[in-house]
C-alpha cells in the first residue's frame, strides 16, 4: 500500500460549511474526538455566499407566526414531497438554532425594540428570515468557525476526500489527499458525517463555486447509500446574466423581499400572469394590491414576485423563450424605481457593490438583468430525520448533500436553517454511534490502495484529454439536456453523452506535479461529477411528471401517482445504477389537518 499519512478519530466530518461546522461542534461538545476536513480554507465554504437570511419562526415581526405556519409553507413550497418529519423538526428547532448563533456572537439586524429583525422571502407567509443585510451566510460561517476553533476541533483544510472506507457494510473511515502536496491521507473513524454541500458545477450556469462538484453525493453512492429526489435541482430565478464572466452569480431573493419587482422588456410585471392555482388564494392579483402588501398584511395578499423559486424560475424562462427578455437573455429586476437609494444601500449593500463592481450597474438607478442559475440540489443521501443516519452503518449526513427536507423545491432561507438544525442532529447521531463502538472498525487496505491507483492514473498513460475541456462539455450537456425544462429524448441524449465523457475521462492527462495542481484536482472531481450527473438524469427520467425543481415538456402536469413517491437511486459496486419508486413516509393526521384548513 502507498505511503498514507494516517489519523484516527471517533467522528470525521467531511465539509466545513454550515452543516459540517455545526455537526463537528456538536460531536466535540459530546466528548468525541472530532476532526473536520474541507477542500478550501476554513471559512470559505459555499455557505459564505448565502445572502438573504435564515428562516425561523421567531415571531419577532409577526406574532402570528409559529412553527406550524413555517412547516406548512415548507411543505407547500416542496410540493408536499418533503420528508414531513424533517420539515417539522426544522420548523420547530430553527428558532433555537438562530438564538444559539446569536449567543456565539452573530450580530443579526435588529427590530426597533432590539430583537432579531426578520425579512420577507419567497414562499414564506410572514417575514421570517433573520439576516445581516445581505451577507447572512458570512455571519453564520464565521460564527460557527470561531466556535469550532474555540472548542479545539482538529481541522484539516485544503484536503479533499476521495472515497469512504467500509468494513463489511459499515463505515471505517475515508481517504483523501492534501491539495498542497498531493500527499495521501487515511482517516480511520467510527462514524463519518457527510456535509459536502452541492453539485451545481455539473451545470454551465451556476451560482456554485469550484467546490460544488457533488463529491459527497458520489462518495455516498460509492459506499452504498440510498439517494432520493436526485431529479430535483433548483434553478434560482435570479442570477446575474451580464457580463458573461459573472453569469450565474447569485442575486439575492432579498431584492424582491425588500420591494424589487420583475419586469420584461416592455416593463410589464409579468409574474401576475404566472400565478399557479395552488398559490392563487394567497397571492395578489393586481399591482396595487401587491404593493400594498409590503405594509399591510391584513388586507393585501403577497406579491407574485415572491412565489416559490421554481415558479419564478419557470416564469422567467418562459418570458425569455417568448422573446420578451432583456438584451442579454434575462429579465429585469427593478428596485431602483421602487425604493429610495439610501434604503437600497442599507438593505442590500453587497448587491449594490457586486453590480457596481462587476457589471458597472448602479442598482439604485437602473434595473438589474437576471436569469435562472443552477443553485441547489434538493436531492441527496436519504437520512433519518432525528439522527441524520443513512442506510450505511456509521454514515451520517446533513445539509445539501442529503435529500428529503426540501421535497421538490426549497424555499429561500430554509437552507441556512437546515444546516444548523440537521448539522447539530447529525453531529449528535454520529457522536452517539461512535460512543457505542468499542473500537474503530477494521481497515481494508485494498480499498485504500485502489484509491491511490485511481488518483495517480491521470499522471501516467498517454491520454490526451484535458480535464477542463471535459468538465466544460459535461456542463453544457447537462445545461442543454437536463436543465430547467426537460424531455425524455433530451435526457436520453444526456445519458449517452455522459457515457461518452466517462470513456474519455479514462484518458485524461494531467500536466505538472502533485503539489497544488488544480488540473489534477479537477480530473479527480470529474469522476464524481459524472457519477452524480448520471444519477440525477436517471432519476429525472423516472419521474414522469412536473413538480418543483423538475419540469418536463412531455409531462407538463403534476401527477397524483408521483405525488406519493420518492425516486430512489442506488449505485452497485460495479457502477450500475438502479432506480426505483418508494412510498413517501406517511404524515400523521394532526399535521395533515394543517393543509385541510384552506
Amino acid at each position: 500500500m502507498a505511503d498514507f499519512e494516517t489519523h484516527e478519530f471517533d467522528v470525521l466530518v467531511i465539509g466545513a460549511g454550515g452543516a459540517g461546522l455545526r455537526a463537528a461542534i456538536e460531536s466535540a461538545v459530546l466528548g468525541q474526538r472530532t476532526a473536520i476536513v474541507c477542500k478550501s480554507l476554513l471559512g470559505k465554504a459555499h455557505t459564505v455566499m448565502a445572502e438573504g437570511g435564515i428562516a425561523a419562526a421567531l415571531s419577532n415581526v409577526y406574532s402570528e407566526d409559529n412553527w406550524r405556519v413555517h412547516f406548512r409553507d415548507t411543505m407547500r413550497g416542496g410540493k408536499m414531497l418533503n420528508n414531513w418529519r424533517m420539515a417539522q423538526l426544522h420548523a420547530q428547532e430553527a428558532p433555537d438554532r438562530v438564538r444559539e448563533l446569536e449567543e456565539w456572537g452573530a450580530l443579526f439586524d435588529r427590530t426597533e425594540d432590539g430583537r432579531i429583525l426578520q425579512r420577507d422571502f419567497g414562499g414564506h407567509r410572514y417575514a421570517r428570515l433573520a439576516h445581516v443585510g445581505d451577507r447572512t451566510g458570512l455571519e453564520m460561517i464565521r460564527t460557527l468557525q470561531q466556535r469550532l476553533v474555540a472548542l479545539g476541533v482538529d481541522v484539516f483544510q485544503e484536503l479533499t476526500v476521495t472515497r469512504l472506507l467500509t468494513d463489511g457494510d459499515r463505515i471505517a473511515g475515508a481517504v483523501g489527499y492534501w491539495r498542497d502536496s498531493g500527499r495521501l491521507v487515511l482517516f480511520r473513524a467510527k462514524a463519518v458525517v457527510l456535509a459536502t454541500g452541492g453539485l451545481g458545477k455539473i451545470w454551465a450556469i451556476t451560482s456554485n463555486s469550484w467546490e460544488g462538484t457533488g463529491d459527497g453525493h458520489a462518495l455516498a453512492m460509492y459506499a452504498g447509500a440510498d439517494m432520493i429526489d436526485m431529479e430535483f435541482v433548483q434553478f434560482h430565478p435570479t442570477g446575474m446574466v451580464w457580463p458573461p464572466s459573472v453569469r450565474g452569480i447569485l442575486v439575492t431573493e432579498g431584492v424582491r423581499g425588500d420591494g424589487g419587482t420583475l419586469r420584461n422588456q416592455s416593463g410589464e410585471r409579468f409574474m401576475f400572469r404566472y400565478i399557479p392555482p395552488m398559490f392563487a388564494a394567497e397571492t395578489a392579483d393586481s399591482e396595487e394590491e401587491a404593493d400594498r402588501w409590503y405594509d399591510d398584511r391584513q388586507h393585501a395578499r403577497r406579491t407574485p414576485d415572491l412565489l416559490p423559486r421554481d415558479e419564478v424560475a419557470r416564469a422567467i424562462n418562459a418570458e425569455v423563450r417568448a422573446g420578451r427578455g432583456s438584451p442579454h437573455g434575462g429579465v429585469f429586476l427593478d428596485i431602483a424605481s421602487r425604493r429610495p437609494a439610501e434604503y437600497i444601500k442599507r438593505r442590500l449593500p453587497s448587491m449594490y457593490h457586486q453590480f457596481k463592481e462587476l457589471a458597472g450597474v448602479d442598482i439604485t438607478r437602473e434595473p438589474m438583468e437576471v436569469g435562472p442559475t443552477c443553485h441547489y440540489a434538493m436531492g441527496g443521501m436519504r437520512v433519518d430525520a432525528e439522527t441524520g443516519a443513512s442506510n450505511v452503518a456509521g454514515l451520517y449526513g446533513a445539509g445539501e448533500v442529503t435529500g428529503g427536507m426540501h421535497g421538490s423545491n426549497r424555499l429561500g432561507g430554509n437552507s441556512l436553517s437546515d444546516l444548523v438544525v440537521f448539522g447539530r442532529r447529525a453531529g449528535m447521531g454520529a457522536a452517539q454511534h461512535a460512543a457505542g463502538l468499542q473500537a474503530v472498525p477494521a481497515l481494508d487496505s485494498s480499498q485504500a490502495s485502489a484509491c491511490d491507483e485511481s488518483m495517480e492514473a491521470p499522471f501516467r498513460g498517454d491520454g490526451k484529454e484535458n480535464p477542463y475541456t471535459l468538465h466544460r462539455e459535461l456542463q453544457d450537456l447537462m445545461q442543454v439536456n437536463v436543465g430547467i425544462i426537460r424531455t425524455d429524448s433530451d435526457m436520453r441524449a444526456a445519458l449517452a453523452g455522459i457515457a461518452g465523457l466517462r470513456e474519455r475521462a479514462t484518458r485524461v492527462k494531467v500536466e505538472g506535479g502533485a503539489a497544488y495542481n488544480p488540473g489534477w484536482h479537477l480530473a479527480i472531481d470529474l469522476g464524481h461529477m459524472l457519477t452524480v450527473a448520471e444519477a440525477a438524469t436517471r432519476s429525472a427520467l423516472e419521474r414522469k411528471e412536473s413538480r418543483g425543481g423538475h419540469t418536463r415538456d412531455d409531462f407538463p402536469n403534476a401527477s397524483g401517482e408521483f405525488a406519493k413517491v420518492n425516486v430512489v437511486v442506488r449505485r452497485a459496486a460495479d457502477g450500475a445504477f438502479s432506480v426505483s419508486q418508494e412510498s413517501l413516509p406517511a404524515m400523521p393526521a394532526e399535521l395533515q389537518r394543517l393543509f385541510e384548513e384552506d
Binding site: 458570512l138 458573461p244 459573472v246 497544488y516
Partner: protein, 247 residues
C-alpha cells in the same frame, strides 16, 4: 477580442515570472483571465478562489505589486497592451504559483478570546439596539482575505515580528469582541494579552487596502489602544462600561 499580457509567478520561492498572452472578453475580471489561462495553456497553474464575487476572500494576490482580490479587478482597470504582473501575497510563504501558506493567520485565530454573553431575557430573546451593533457589524464584514495582513509593514518585511503580532485582521476581531454590547468577558480581550497592538503605529495601510472598506485603524485599532490604556489603569471603568453597554 482583446489580449492580456500577463507575467505570472510560477513555482515556489525560487520560482520565476513567466509571460503569457491570453485573449479575454468584455467584462472579465483578472480571475477570469487566470482561469482561461489555466483551461487553455497552464492546467496546473495554482490559484485559490471560491465565490468570484468578493465575498469569500480566497483569491487575494498582488496585482502589479498591489494586494487585491483577483475576482474584483476588472480588466478595464488596466490599459490594454500593458503587462499585468501577478504574484502571490508577499508576506506569507509561497506554496505554489499564486497560492500562499496562510496558516499563520489561523494560528492567530486560535488565540482569540471567546465571547461570554449575559444570559438572555426571560422570554429567551437578547435585546440589543441596532445602533449598538452597527460597529460590530462593520467588523463582521471581514472576509478574511488577509490583504491587510499582507500590507502591514510590521510583518511584511519582518517575519521575526510574526510571533508576537496578531495583525490588523485580528485587531478587527478583537475590537468586535471588546465592543459587543452583551459580552461579560472583561479584560481578557485586550489586556492580558497585547496581541502586538503596540507594534502598530497607525500608518493606515491596512485600512487603505481592505476590500470590505472596514475602517480598521480608526474604528478598531485606535479604540483598542485606548481601551488597553484604560483597562490597565482603571479596571472599574471597563466593568462599568460592560454593564451599561456603552463604550
Amino acid at each position: 477580442m482583446p489580449t492580456a499580457h500577463l507575467r505570472v509567478w510560477r513555482g515556489t520561492d525560487d520560482g520565476e515570472y513567466v509571460e503569457y498572452e491570453v485573449e479575454y472578453d468584455e467584462g472579465m475580471v483578472v480571475l477570469d483571465v487566470v482561469h482561461r489561462l489555466q483551461a487553455t495553456q497552464t492546467p496546473d497553474l495554482a490559484v485559490r478562489w471560491n465565490c468570484k464575487a468578493g465575498k469569500c476572500g480566497s483569491c487575494s494576490a498582488e496585482i502589479n505589486g498591489k494586494p487585491r482580490l483577483q475576482c474584483m479587478q476588472r480588466m478595464e482597470l488596466y490599459p490594454e497592451g500593458e503587462t499585468i504582473t501577478l504574484a502571490p501575497l508577499k508576506t506569507f510563504p509561497i506554496i505554489r504559483d499564486l497560492v500562499t501558506n496562510v496558516a499563520w493567520n489561523y494560528d492567530q485565530a486560535r488565540a482569540m478570546p471567546e465571547l461570554r454573553l449575559r444570559p438572555a431575557d426571560a422570554d429567551g430573546n437578547r435585546r440589543m439596539a441596532q445602533i449598538d451593533i452597527d460597529r460590530g457589524q462593520e467588523f463582521h464584514k471581514c472576509i478574511e482575505c488577509y490583504i491587510c495582513q499582507d500590507v502591514c509593514h510590521v510583518i511584511r518585511d519582518h517575519p521575526e515580528n510574526m510571533a508576537g503580532f496578531a495583525g490588523p485582521r485580528f485587531f478587527v476581531q478583537l475590537a468586535s469582541i471588546a465592543m459587543h454590547p452583551l459580552d461579560t468577558n472583561t479584560r481578557r480581550a485586550t489586556v492580558d494579552h497585547g496581541f502586538g497592538l503596540d507594534y502598530c503605529n497607525i500608518t493606515k495601510c491596512c485600512t487603505d487596502v481592505c476590500p470590505e472598506g472596514i475602517h480598521i485603524t480608526d474604528n478598531a485599532i485606535i479604540p483598542l489602544k485606548e481601551r488597553r490604556v484604560d483597562e490597565f489603569h482603571d479596571p472599574l471603568r471597563i466593568i462599568a462600561r460592560k454593564l451599561t453597554g456603552r463604550g
